[in-house]
């Protein structure tokens, strides 16, 4: 009974960490520009698929991981430079559709270059499950949790301590005022896309040994990360993290106790519930709209 619950919680926290990384990426771009970047999920896919391909080509695992994350980061920067920046003044709907167009382009390219097959990445620390109070946990799950924790701490340090991080925060609070004190808002947006792509790809790489990865996993991961961000209140870093973990745990509990067929519906039921009763998200600050 208890062991079963613990098992569900452990797997929930593992997948929830990935949702948290995706949600953090959504938040960073949303803060910098107000754009909801629907290509975010494709960076997760890109990280996983690129790492697998590099390993299969004979590159050593640690190097393949770093290279895969770097590739996704560059693609993120390219998306901002080529698709978002030229259309920056367009309508919100238009911008959303442009990010969706970019995500289809990335997915289509991966499909052409790497094929439709599902791949699995070798795990980082062996495949022998560890026993925790009767439940089992894969060593890879520990890698996932450790990586996510360090990323959250590093981001907190980046936004709290470095000049660049503070510049990004300032831009999200008030773009005009930030520009008046000499912050290059265009560069901040450029950086935000790169950073969010790196976060997504990192999530994609560390989860690839547990779940299979293929060209089409980005859509659902992206949507769930987006929902996780909404649960925490889009734009809040801690909210995104907690939202991701919460979503992962609730999803695992639903799959375990209610219905595995409806596991994928849970995030979307949850988000409607949250919007009806906590419209600012669980942790979003209350804002008044400027006229």
């Amino acid at each position: 009974m208890f062991v079963e619950l613990l098992q569900f919680l452990l797997s929930g926290v593992t997948i929830g960490s990935i949702y948290a990384l995706v949600a953090l990426g959504f938040s960073i771009v949303f803060n910098a520009s107000g754009v909801i970047n629907f290509a975010q999920g494709e960076f997760v896919m890109l990280g996983g698929v690129a790492a697998v391909t590099l390993v299969e080509a004979g590159v050593s695992l640690p190097f393949a991981v770093m290279l895969a994350v770097a590739i996704a980061g560059v693609v993120g920067l390219l998306v901002e430079k080529l698709a978002i920046e030229p259309a920056k003044d367009a309508d919100e709907v238009t911008l959303i559709i442009i990010t969706i167009g970019a995500s289809l382009t990335i997915r289509g390219m991966v499909q052409v270059l790497f094929g439709k097959g599902a791949h699995v990445l070798p795990s980082f620390g062996g495949d022998k499950p560890l026993r925790v109070l009767g439940a089992t946990i894969l060593p890879q799950s520990l890698w996932v949790l450790g990586t996510t924790l360090s990323v959250v701490l590093m981001l907190a340090g980046f936004f709290g301590k470095t000049l660049l991080g503070k510049a990004m925060l300032a831009t999200s609070f008030n773009k005009l005022a930030a520009q008046l004190v000499g912050i290059n808002a265009n560069f901040v947006l450029f950086l935000a896309f790169g950073l969010s792509a790196v976060l997504g790809a990192l999530g994609g790489v560390i989860i690839a040994p547990i779940t299979y990865t293929s060209y089409d996993v980005g859509l659902m991961l992206g949507l769930k990360g987006f929902i996780a961000g909404t649960l925490g209140g889009l734009g809040s870093g801690y909210g995104a993290t907690v939202g991701g973990l919460l979503l992962g745990v609730l999803e695992a509990l639903t799959a375990g106790y209610v219905s595995s067929a409806y596991k994928d519906a849970l995030p979307f039921v949850l988000v409607l519930f949250i919007l009806f009763f906590f419209p600012r998200g669980l942790f979003g600050a209350s804002l008044t709209e400027r006229v």
Binding site: A87, T105, I227, P267
Partner: protein, 312 residues
């Protein structure tokens, strides 16, 4: 005889619709034309929501799926006549749309995108899982449509029906956007607060538009299901919602004729791209991104602007 400028477009549309049968060589082209008309009608309804009122929906395929499966299930599994099944399904979809939209539309704009996205995906998952009623991932066969005891069959009859509905909805929309309600919707797009100050019931109007576009999608989804005789869960998935929004945005926001052009492009494109085995996703993505980067207003408004400039 002078025609009011706003009806000139309708006249062109009517002439095109009447002359098109003489240019359609075989039933394949009829099929494409019928599906363009069905999609265009849905897109016009969504344009009222997206283009005129400035609200985003990422879940309209869910409403379409409700209409298609509602009508399909009521006729096939419960033996209802299609003339009863279609309106009952439409009313049900409208009620659901009202229940979802009412609490959400008090909030800022991108929350409607999230809520409709969630709603659409829930509908899609339910359709995929409830195989006893929907046939699950394999889809289900749908009975043919009969109106007033006469079976609607044959490409010419279907073309007449679909094109007739399209022209009627376009006429209704051209009148609506120039009426006080249409102007109120455009005021909401400009600034919700200013619209409220001017005495417009912002939330109420937005809910009405959501319900209207959802009912239209539902009815056309039902008609489309009876027309093709088969439906699958893909008709209600997230990607189809995106295709519907794309018709509106690529064709031209706040342009009734833009929606028709957008629907025509998005309906024909997959047929053309089908030849590029494996490349179609990438080409579709590139076309979508590039067309919006270079024509952020959409095709029809951009061309119209260029025409006006060259005249002046």
């Amino acid at each position: 005889m002078t025609i009011e400028p706003r009806f000139r477009g309708l006249l062109v549309l009517g002439v095109v619709v009447l002359l098109l049968p003489f240019a359609l060589p075989n039933s394949f082209y009829y099929d494409v034309a019928i599906r363009i008309a069905i999609n265009a009608t849905i897109a016009i309804g969504m344009n009222l929501l997206i283009g005129y009122t400035g609200q985003i929906s990422l879940g309209h395929a869910g409403f379409l799926g409700l209409g298609a499966y509602g009508s399909g299930i009521l006729t096939a599994r419960f033996g209802w006549p299609s003339m009863l099944a279609l309106p009952v399904t439409a009313i049900g979809t409208g009620l659901l749309a009202y229940l979802v939209a009412r609490p959400i539309l008090r909030l800022k704009r991108h929350y409607l995108a999230i809520a409709t996205l969630g709603f659409g995906i829930i509908i899609n998952i339910v359709i995929g899982n409830e195989a006893a009623y929907t046939g699950g991932p394999d889809g289900m066969a749908v009975a043919s449509l009969s109106l007033f005891g006469v079976e609607v069959t044959g490409e010419r009859v279907w073309y007449g029906l679909a094109a007739g509905v399209l022209v009627f909805v376009a006429w209704m929309m051209v009148n609506l956007v120039n009426a006080p309600m249409g102007r109120a919707l455009q005021a909401i797009h400009g600034s919700e607060i200013a619209a409220r100050v001017a005495g417009i019931d912002v939330a109420g109007l937005k809910v009405r538009v959501v319900v209207f576009s959802a009912v239209l999608a539902s009815v056309m989804g039902g008609l489309g299901a009876h027309y093709s005789g088969f439906i699958s869960p893909a008709s209600s998935d997230f990607m189809h919602s995106i295709e519907l929004v794309t018709m509106v945005v690529v064709g031209g926001m706040a342009s009734v004729y833009g929606s028709i052009v957008g629907a025509a492009i998005l309906t024909v494109l997959p047929q053309v791209l089908g030849r590029f085995e494996g490349w179609e996703t990438m080409v579709f993505g590139l076309i979508l991104t590039l067309s919006l980067m270079f024509m952020p207003r959409g095709i029809v408004p951009t061309l119209r602007l260029r025409l006006v400039r060259s005249e002046a």
